[in-house]
């Protein structure tokens, strides 16, 4: 990694919202204009900093939704009712607004297309965001790695990137489980919280030595990781990204 490239990623840069797209009633994707964006890897995140007119600042991290190949940097933000930053980004922020951004960072949660090992993606709610960047990257690079996604959401209405996932459903193993209603039959999904049986049905099995990525709210990630290790997946191959909590 070049020294100059590192310094670019270290600095806070001013970004402008080009477009705010509604994904679900509670989530928006912000398409950003980032001067001299150095590019990113699938799974990375950025730190976002907002400044109020009295100088008050709040900082949060958001996973990059767009693939490394996409023309614009995109972040998907889900509104947390008691959140400080997310309600601003989903309800108030509009085209032309600016904030500061640092990154991309987070090499630990990255998937690179030169990996041929099977890939198992487990998403809880908005934990789908970085995994979507990975899935999009997988598709855009023509990767032949066996890829499987299990998404857990409350209702069908909460499923991020629903149309895109529906389109991929026929060619890739994309499985859905809803916790508050049953998915429509065409999903061939589940209607319960994730459990061992579901992960055994969906995953390629530990003997195939997959790379596993789990992302979502902390309790979801902890439960999924524990179940995966219980099934026999090697803990060091299970990459976790816990959202929420402070």
């Amino acid at each position: 990694m070049e020294g100059a490239e590192v310094l670019e990623r270290l600095n806070w840069r001013v970004v402008t919202i080009k477009e705010s797209k509604s994904e679900t009633p509670h989530a928006k994707t912000l398409v950003l204009d980032v001067p001299e964006w150095p590019g990113h890897k699938a799974g990375q995140h950025v730190d976002v900093r907002l400044t109020a007119d009295d100088g008050y600042q709040a900082e949060r991290s958001y996973s990059i939704a767009s693939s490394p190949q996409a023309p614009d940097l995109e972040l998907t933000v889900e509104r947390l009712d008691d959140g400080e930053v997310s309600p601003y980004l989903t309800d108030e922020a509009r085209e032309g607004d600016q904030f500061e951004l640092r990154g991309p960072v987070g090499g630990y949660f990255v998937w690179e297309a030169d990996s041929s090992r099977p890939l198992l993606l487990i998403a809880g709610g908005s934990g789908l965001v970085p995994l979507m960047s990975i899935l999009r990257h997988h598709q855009e690079t023509g990767s032949q790695a066996d890829v499987r996604l299990l998404l857990s959401a409350r209702t069908l209405e909460d499923v991020l990137y629903r149309a895109e996932l529906e389109a991929l459903r026929d060619k890739l193993a994309i499985r859905l489980t809803l916790t508050r209603e049953a998915p429509p039959p065409e999903w061939n999904g589940f209607a319960r919280r994730i459990d061992r049986a579901m992960l055994e049905a969906v995953g390629p099995g530990p003997e195939s030595h997959p790379r596993v990525y789990v992302c979502g709210p902390t309790p979801f990630v902890e439960q999924a990781a524990e179940l995966l290790v219980g099934i026999g997946y090697e803990p060091r191959t299970v990459h976790t990204e816990r959202f929420g909590g402070a």
């Binding site: 310094l7 270290l10 990154g103 090499g107 630990y108 902390t218 976790t240 959202f243 909590g245 402070a246």
Partner: protein, 83 residues
């Protein structure tokens, strides 16, 4: 409740000027080696990173604005950036 070391990737990059989450640390207590990004992250006055295997301390970070300060435990191996 804790998060993952990966969540402070930005701050670690500010301190070390290198992406740290993929570097490995060998724990002084249990001897297991894990990526920094896999360590457990606690947020108190500052940040604490703990070994994902045994929970012992890997680092404490004082979040001094523009000059964060890290105290590290165990053996951290870091690959310097190519020049």
């Amino acid at each position: 409740m804790h998060k993952d070391g990966n969540a402070i990737a930005g701050m670690l990059m500010e301190i070390f000027e290198v992406e740290m989450t993929t570097e490995r640390r060998t724990c002084q207590s249990c001897g297991q080696a894990n990526e920094i990004g896999a360590h457990l992250l606690y947020a108190g006055a500052g940040y604490v990173l703990r070994c994902p295997n045994c929970g012992d301390m890997a680092a404490a970070i004082a979040t001094v604005p523009d000059a964060p300060r890290i105290t590290m435990f165990g053996s951290w191996s870091v690959e310097p950036p190519a020049r």
